[in-house]
Amino acid sequence: MENRIGVYICHCGTNIAGKLDIQELASFASKLEGVVVAREYKYMCSDPGQEMIKKDIKELGLNRIVVAACSPQMHEQTFRRVLNEAGLNPYLFQMANVREQDSWVTGDSKLATQKAARLIAAAVRRVSNHEPLQIKTFGVNPAALVVGGGITGIEAALRIADSGRRVYLVEKEPSIGGHMAQFDKTFPTLDCAACILTPKMSSVGVHPNIELLTYSEVEEFSGFAGNFKVKIKKKARYVDPEKCTSCGLCQEKCPVKVSSEFDCGLGMRKAIYTPFPQAVPNIPVIDTENCLFFTKGVCKVCQKVCPADAVKFDDKDEFVEVDVGAVIVSTGFDVFDPSVAAQYGYRRYDNVVTSLEFERMCNASGPTGGKILLKSGDTPKSLAILHCIGSRDENYHEYCSRICCMQSMKFAHLVREKLPNAKVYEFYIDLRAFGKGYEEFYKRVLNEDVIFIRGKGAEVTNFAETPEEEGKLIVRCEDTLLGSVLRVPVDMVVLSVALEPRRDSNKVAKTFLLSRSKDGFFLERHPKLAPVSTTNDGIYIAGVCQGPKDIPDSVAQGGAAAAEVLSLIDRGKVTTEPEIAVIDEKRCSACFVCIRACPFNAIKFDEDKNVAVVQEALCKACGVCVAACPSGAIKQQGFTDGQIYAEMEGILAI
């Protein structure tokens, strides 16, 4: 069909007409190839302007439209809608930006008019090559997957489930609860962590809309927003959850004792165990690396004592496949291992502990029953708490872990409660008490006879220089307020260690196609305006896996991610980008260049046909593959080589 192009030049009041010779441009445009009509009007975007275009489309049989006006970023959508309302495919349209990038920035009228003429010629040539484009729509599966069952994942799962949607909550450990389950009190309100967390854990466990998959990991993940396929591995527990009554007899009778991960190695657990007594689900697992039956083929005591006959040694890993519409990744963090920083004496001296170990020690249900004890079993008379171990340190992590100042002050307060006469020192670089009620808490601790020393702990040693230092750990530090080097002898040192990306972050990032920022945490789409979205639609991140944060912020992000998921589910549909890449199968040489170039893993290889195939719903229309394809087999709709060449010719021909 022959091109019948209409060109519409906007005065934009005097914004354009004050600089450009509109009459000359209209007469110039009317002579261009394919142009049937060229008109000018005061405000093209106004109702009369839009009506003018619609009328011409109907009466003059126009099949392509060019508007020379403001930036397409401003009104492209407006005019596309006009075409649509007039029954024309909205992509048979091109805008020439003669305002932002011409009349407003060019001093000389004559040169500005010349530039506009070339831009109009470029738009006319380009639109001559336009083809109608279609947007495809896909439905959204109303179920969600939450990966990671810490406080963030718990919050997200409950929010989604409460709205009546199905949630699959996958947790790697035998129980949900995450790090928060290990904490004693929480700053600044001093709520007991278990008291506020365990009710939420129980809600998750019994919620009719939550399918809880603990001791499980996502093995395979594919699809696109609204339609993901997930393969989950449920590791063998060797205990039948249907039969187990959580009586605990197996754990009591098991003869094997190993150090407990949950207690950071300060306490022991059995080979058949639940990580902690309030575990959800409260079903034990058998640790096959230590179980006598699995290592030596003997014992089976647990099976013998189990009144419910729930222990099954022939249990196998199970694979579950589920379809979901959206995913929240809330995999949390690991803590920095300070043994790599030898100067702090961790693992060399008995009484140097990490903040997480100290949490367990303070916890009433912890290995010491809430007593702060030295390795010898004695009570310390003096403690030093060292801030910023592994964080704000260019040798390890540049970032601030955000929780350590408050956590350290909480420790000081707990020591004051439990050991009223002990001396407590805080060694800090700066005190960052930025949250609600945090500064007030700092003030409170300042008045609790805690000694604050402004200077980072530089070294922990047992090398005594004076008789008072004998048998003590000596913290060396430069007091930056006094400007002098101090030696502070104490009985116990607590290292406030950095929060780090999980050690398996790379694997998780690969599975869910996440990017990671310089510090290794998962990268959000926008640091301010899209804090829980990722560059992949339908995949969200929340909690510390995105960057260090405290419990209130983690819960807020869990809720935010849940809102994103519910918004996607309620929208009920996802649409493809109009300007996606299309592969010409006949020209594809199966070289895989496009597959490697695609930033969104949107191109798959079809083994049967031996060609690359674009998954339309995943393509974000960047065009990287098009420029990369050595065979010229890929075109980007709306940005074909022909269209771009035509635009270029328009600019250069006159």
Partner: protein, 138 residues
């Protein structure tokens, strides 16, 4: 004699540099009218043949402008553009084209001033180099 007005084709990515150029307009900055914008979704879409084609068809220079490294709307399209640009520059050197005629710049949506400055600089540089006339002389 009339002053030589170079014609420069500007490939601008829609998310950063095109928006930065728009901002130069809304901020009413003034710069020479010699760069003609072609909007692309991402600088990663720019095939080196576009640049060669532009130069052979009468352009005196080509500007490629995209998001700063790390800011690409499509994660890493601008890195592809950068790699292709380095290769293309080598090729252009081989055929005797001054490398100042093809320029790649990272210009964010807020860097209107940088956009205006780059256009000014490039126009002046190419005005000094004179018309390219590639494809017309041989």
């Amino acid at each position: 004699m009339e002053r030589f007005e170079p014609r420069i084709v500007g490939f601008l990515c829609r998310w950063c540099s095109y928006a930065g150029a728009d901002l130069a307009g809304t901020s009413r900055m003034t710069y020479p009218p010699n760069v003609y914008p072609i909007r692309v979704n991402c600088t990663g879409r720019i095939d080196p043949t576009f640049i060669i084609k532009a130069l052979t068809q009468g352009a005196d220079g080509v500007l490629i402008a995209g998001c700063h490294p790390g800011d690409c709307h499509y994660n890493k399209g601008n890195y592809n553009a950068f790699r292709r640009y380095l290769l293309l520059k080598k090729l252009l050197g081989q055929v005797g084209i001054d490398e100042a005629r093809v320029r790649l710049e990272w210009i964010s949506a807020s860097e209107a001033e940088k956009f205006a400055r780059v256009v000014k600089e490039m126009t002046e540089t190419i005005r000094e180099l004179g018309p390219l006339n590639w494809g017309k002389t041989g």
